[in-house]
Amino acid sequence: MSVESKLHNVKIIIFDGSFKTTPFINRLVKGLALNHQIYILGFNEKLTNPISGVNYVSLGSNQSKLKFTVATLGKLFQSKKFNLLLPTLKKLIQGKRQALQKLNLELALKNIAPDLIHLQWPSVIPWFEVVLLKQEIPVILSQRGFHNNVRPFVDGENFEYLKKWYPKMAGFHSVSKAIAANGDKIWTSSEKIDKVVYTGLPLEEMPFSEAYFLSRPLRIVSVGRTHWKKGYDYALRACKLLKEKNISFQYTIIGGAGDEELQFLVDDLGLQDYVNLEKRIPQKEVFRLIQEASLLLMPSLEEGIPNVVVEAMAIGLPVISTDCGGVPELIEEGVNGWMVPTRKPEAIAAAIIHFMELPLDMIEKVRIEARRKVEQQHNEAQMVRGMEELFYEVVEMK
């Protein structure tokens, strides 16, 4: 598909369920808004940092009844579908919020008349079933992580649901080749459009940390909310092995506080002096904190592609990660990072010990290569360009 397409300016609806979305979606939208008309639809009322150039359309607040009513009636008048006024008033009085939100969505689509709809998660597909059945507006689905590579394979109903709606998508966006392969397990065809577009980082805002310090005790950090797929229990067992070998270290799990199982393991394994379970903190502070560490540990069982690893590599924090999901598309063993098999505490412990025994100039080489990899594969420009190419491909296929 030629990028030199007649369609320079595309009208796209981005749907995540909320105005706020995630940092990576926001970065994408910022980049796209320069050349295209972007609409973000959502149920929120307040947005603290709206992105300039983006149109925010409310489908009716989940919180405020008054704002909901105003939004609904406003949409109705805008679309001039006055025949719907009485039934709508009736539904408003009856409090049938979801039915009205669906109606608001329909009206919003009519008002905007987009070229393309980009759904960010499989969980929002139910809102667009009518649109998918009509097959008038092409819909793209992003495949990012848990909801694509784990949930369908442990929840039979979910699998059947996705199997039904996947064929109706005009195209797919995958954050890694691994997750694209998982998507194929749900449905595939010779005409399937599935583009791997790697997540992009604002690298200018994330300078490479020239000064690196291999601390003693070794400061290890993991970031991410607790969930069984994050594999922190294996990381803690690895810590037990390190303790037994008299290795001096401090392991912090940012986002680990409050998890009963982890707390139990810390006490049961006698790691109170070695492990800190910290509360979740905003992205900016995470950034500052991980710069104080000497090593990032990513022990997950499944990942699309772990953003925290990409970020760590960008700022020059060495990474040991499990080889799950798309990690092998990011890390080359010994060149820009290190990998271990999933669910193996002995392997994690061995990798950490190996790391600690490396000469400093070797670690420095790895840090520099890691930054290079990220600059080449995960810059924002390639993300925006990649998504644009996907959009053009899908719109032209119409």
Partner: protein, 371 residues
């Protein structure tokens, strides 16, 4: 025994904590001065009253009553008016998390306080934060008696600072049908051996290790089925590992079953498996022993007080699938051993965990208290 007793729980789950409701019904059956109070009245537990005001109507009702009273209530005391009006002389918290809500009435030192602790209250809660630890120690201080459901739990509490003199252990119990004895059914010819677990799908029950154990047994060529009855947040994780280990043919999740269906499953099974990581006592183990099942479980917490190693089951170190698997192999092809262990388990339950026995102990305890 004429002192007024208020038995208090912030919440009781009508299915999962039915044993507490049954205990209360038996305990109060021949007493006139006992009342059960819950944080919010539940339709499923009609015998309970509220200990606190839950809606505006109740609030105004008590404001009205108080017009005719000389004493004034503080803001905090207002909330627990129904309990204050009951004028208890003894308060027994059967869930320790109700302590903060009823603190105002406890300022009256004449009221004797007994607090019953579960595993979570001692093994998890105090470690979650400094505040939690302080609160736990505060409860230890104020209470006159601290009740634990196992010696293991009591010892853990003493380590946290509980005064040993205040501590007492009374095991939880199950209803024993004295009329009918133990019936262990033979495994029908064409049926696979059935291994059973009953419990919430949470990390404490160690289901990940259970699945790894089943995988080892399958790879060694054993033929069996493993069924898990229960629901919980780890359901997806368990499904994930079942697929990963390729044991879909051997393992099935039954979801939450009714008490009747659980009983049927226990009667149909040959081995009961519970590789817990954390357990204060475990009513499921007691029940399984009662139905004559040999037990394979972990040597932690209060489990050795329910299952006698080599007598009514095999206990091994937690988080060690190889260890569990070895114990399974000893049982799987030895029907006589299973039968013997089942018999022993049944006797242990009769001796230590009968409802009658527990009620007797509580009677003795309250007798002493009321003197």
């Amino acid at each position: 025994m004429d002192k007024k007793i208020a038995i208090i729980a912030s919440y009781l789950h009508p299915i999962r904590q039915k044993h507490l409701i049954d205990w209360y019904i038996d305990f109060s059956s021949n007493r006139k001065t006992v009342s059960l109070f819950l944080g919010s009245k539940s339709n499923k537990i009609p015998i309970a009253k509220n200990y606190k005001i839950n809606n505006k109507r109740e609030f105004y009702k008590y404001q009205f009553y108080n017009l005719f009273q000389s004493r004034r209530f503080s803001e905090k005391q207002n909330r627990i008016q129904p309990l204050i009006n009951y004028k208890p002389e003894i308060i027994h918290l059967i869930t320790s998390n109700a302590f903060q809500a009823i603190e105002p009435i406890l300022e009256n030192k004449k009221i004797q306080l007994i607090v019953s602790f579960r595993g979570f209250d001692i093994n998890v809660f105090p470690y979650q934060s400094e505040e939690n630890l302080k609160l736990t120690r505060k409860i230890f201080e104020r209470a006159d008696k601290l009740h634990f459901i196992s010696y293991a739990l009591r010892d853990s509490a003493i380590k946290l600072g509980a005064n040993p003199d205040k501590c007492m252990v009374i095991y939880r119990s199950i209803q024993i049908d004295k009329a009918n004895g133990l019936q262990i059914n033979d495994l029908p010819e064409d049926h696979r051996l059935l291994i059973l677990s009953v419990g919430r799908l949470v990390w404490e029950k160690g289901f990940l290790y259970a699945l790894e154990t089943m995988s080892i047994l399958k790879n060694k060529g054993f033929d069996f089925q493993y069924q898990i009855a229960g629901s919980g947040i780890d359901r997806e994780m368990i499904n994930y590992h079942i697929k990963r280990l390729r044991i879909e043919n051997e393992v099935s999740l039954l979801g939450e079953l009714s008490r009747v269906d659980v009983k049927k499953k226990l009667q149909a099974a040959q081995i009961y498996f519970q590789p817990s990581l954390s357990e204060a006592l475990s009513l499921s183990l007691i029940e399984a022993s009662y139905y004559g099942l040999p037990i394979i479980s972990s040597e932690i917490g209060g489990i050795p007080e329910v299952v006698k190693n080599n007598v009514s089951g095999f206990l091994s170190a937690p988080c060690n699938p190889e260890g569990y698997a070895l114990n399974f192999i000893r049982l799987m092809e030895n029907k006589d051993l299973r039968y013997q262990m089942g018999q022993s388990g049944y006797k242990i339950v009769q001796n230590l965990f009968s409802r009658q026995g527990e009620l007797q102990k509580w009677d003795n305890f309250y007798e002493q208290l009321c003197r």
